[in-house]
Amino acid sequence: MEILALLADGMLLALQPLNLTMIVIGVSVGLLIGAMPGLGSVNGVAILLPVTFLVPPGSAIIFLAAIYYGAMYGGAISSVTLGIPGASTAVATTFDGRPLARQGRASLALVTAALASFVGGTIANMLFTLFAPALASVALSFGPPEVFALMLLAFATFVGLGGDDIPKTIFSICFGLVLGSVGFDQISGAPRLILFEMNGFLQGIGFLVLAIGVYGIGEMLWTIEQSRGEVSKTTPKMTLKGMASDAKEATKKGWKGTFVGSFLGFFVGVLPAAGATPGSLMSYGVAKMISRKPETFGQGNPDGVAAPEAANNSASTGSMLPMLTLGIPGSPTTAILLGGMVIWGLVPGPRLFVDETEFVWGLIGSFYVSNAAAVLINLAFIPLFIWMLRMPFTVLAPMIFVLSIVGGYAATRDMFDIWLMVIFGLGAFFLRKFDYPLAPAVLAIVLGPIAEPTLRQSLLLSSGDPSIFFTRPIAGPITVIALILIFMPAFKMLRRKRQPA
């Protein structure tokens, strides 16, 4: 009960006029930042730091929550309208969001994303309120073998993602994994795969460099070439009535994915090593598996937008949990938050929930309010983004290229990475022409750097004995399920081949 009272206090605080203004500004700013490819909540939170000295800490927290939520909602906007995933968590949103936009149904995709995000965020907040301290101990029981098993499970969902050409899909996955291992070997500390002895590779190849290259440059070139520059404009019209019917359709077709994403995303997001990307990817895979029409995924199924969006919003809320209860940042954003808390004189860690109840519940209370504000503001902004899509293609295309280059630089601050991005873009254009699926590579570059070190840490723990993945109580079942999922298609294929004979 005491918790509810504190939570209500937090919410009431957030509803005061000054704070409500901060929320509206914060969400709008966050939305724009999130919609920009290359920028995300990390940039939003970084600019917050100086602001925290101008306003009382209570308002600072609220402003922070507002920017955080705004940016999470914004990620989907770039995925749908520009086709560039602005953050690794939004890659899965492009799978169905982009086809919908191509069919002139961008507004349906955006409305679905907004509503799913809202439900995801709300469910995550409730789970957070009810189970935060208990979940912290779950997070602690995930050591390297468990995280690796979870990554294996995430890879299992790849199986359904690729194109029809199996060798090309496998090539793409491995290519992403190898690119992800460039830089330094975490275990031995030695430089690895410094290609052509160029020092720029020492920092590794970031997800955004590949993603913006592939989607922002490669896909765009391909679209221009395919359409002969005459992109047929399905002028999407935007009316209040149209949005209402979109909302209806989104609820009807996207509820399943939303619920899968909300719960799965939260639990994966709570684990500090995993984060929101595997969460959104796995939700997409599960939504596809349980769907009655799995073949419509990838063709513009609202469920395919709802699942990853609900998941990444839910996971981002979940990732606050290890930060608050264990003092471990699960993402760069939470890392900056952690720094902010130290400046405010708080000690993140197991004692925070006991010693600083007001801060904690004030923060969570403002999450609820920010989430509600974010969905409203996001819906209000949708017509603007739809209007952007109505720009002549010869204006939209150069703007996307400029956004790609500027956003890429903002994310990496290194011209070397920009050149790499251009090279990836030109390469992706040709690979796209020859039917190489590239989404698996883009996801593999995120998951690889989590999977490889945990695999090797586990084997170090067990002195090289791989049975560690099967004998541990949590890792064991996850590994087995993942292996079954990975080998199921091959097994099915064998059976199909045998039957006619």
Binding site: L49, P191, L202, V342, P350, Q457
Partner: protein
């Protein structure tokens, strides 16, 4: 052209005089651009937190007329940051927050061609000691019990750290050598991940900076066994030092700010002044106490001398590690 530039600089200086009367600046040099505040570590670790704390103090007190823009370049144990800073085309607006990889990385990767003595000393903000931690459920309360436990496990005692050749591995290597211990060492991506896996009992002990273990220590989960500082630490008065155990060894992580090679004397004087003010601020002194850092103030010449000493020390330590 010349006239406009001088005129412009005059306006800038004048407007600054009005805006920030508190700064006593040497020769009137002022940054004209945002200052590239490169951090030798990825976001979230101890070094990053300190850098962001410094930045926020500068921001709060309005010490610089152009903002310090944090720029995380942690790749390759800081190799990325060293290359970035030494190759900058604007040394007057590029500064670097360092840790001990400032000494070790150029030693371990001679092919980078980095000579740290070319960097411009600015300020030594403090040094971060190391402590040996175990989980309270292990039942160990003294270092002697720890030594006994490790020996009884015949190489199956698992410790986590931030990687071969990193600060904590140097300490562990020294300790293993001095007490003839056989330890299984698991490298992690950062100090936070190490602390989490000790709390989850995935590993049995760590050597970590107090700042990264503090939350768990206060909750009673972690037990400090041994400090690698010169004297007992005020925050942990009951924890013996390795010196008391008869080994002449201490090890600290430096938290220093250095300028890019080729920085002009005027710019260096400006930054030295700014960081002296930050060092003397209540915020920073409070941070030093709460996070158990030791102040170790040095002027520019002393810093350069200290670097030379540290390079020699690390050469020996790394050689002992077999690198």
């Amino acid at each position: 052209m010349k006239l406009t530039k001088r005129h412009l600089l005059g306006t800038i200086a004048a407007s600054l005089l009005v805006a920030t009367p508190g700064i006593a600046f040497a020769d009137g040099w002022q940054p004209r651009k945002p200052i590239d505040f490169t951090i030798m570590a990825g976001p979230g670790g101890g070094a990053d937190q300190i850098a962001r704390f410094i930045q926020s103090v500068a921001e709060k007190k309005d010490l610089t007329n152009r903002p310090l823009v944090p720029n995380n370049k942690g790749g390759g144990s800081g190799a990325e940051a060293l290359i970035h800073v030494s190759g900058t085309n604007d040394p007057d607006h590029t500064i670097l927050v360092t840790l001990n990889s400032f000494f070790t990385t150029p030693l371990r990767q001679a092919n980078l061609g980095i000579d740290i003595q070319t960097f411009t000393p600015i300020a030594m903000m403090g040094v971060d000691p190391f402590v040996l931690w175990v989980h309270k459920d292990s039942g160990m309360t003294t270092f002697e019990e720890y030594v006994e436990q490790v020996r009884s496990m015949n190489g199956e005692f698992v410790m986590g750290g931030t990687g071969q050749g990193q600060e904590d591995s140097i300490v562990i290597a020294y300790m293993s050598d001095a007490y003839d211990l056989d330890i299984k060492y698991i490298p992690y991506s950062g100090g936070g991940a190490v602390a989490k896996d000790l709390a989850g009992k995935q590993i049995m002990a760590t050597v970590n900076n107090p700042a990264e273990a503090k939350g768990f220590y206060e909750a009673g989960d972690f037990v400090p066994l041994l400090a690698f500082s010169d004297e007992r630490m005020p925050a942990y008065p009951d924890v013996p030092t390795i010196k008391e155990k008869g080994h002449d060894f201490s090890y600290y992580n430096q938290r220093a700010v250095v300028g890019a090679p080729g920085m002009s004397d005027e710019a260096a004087a400006y930054y030295q002044d700014v960081f002296t003010q930050i060092f003397e601020s209540e915020d920073w002194q409070g941070y030093l106490t709460s996070e158990s850092l030791s102040p170790l103030w040095m002027d520019a010449a002393q810093q350069q001398e200290y670097w030379g000493l540290q390079v020699e020390n690390h050469k020996k330590l790394l050689a002992a590690l077999g690198e």
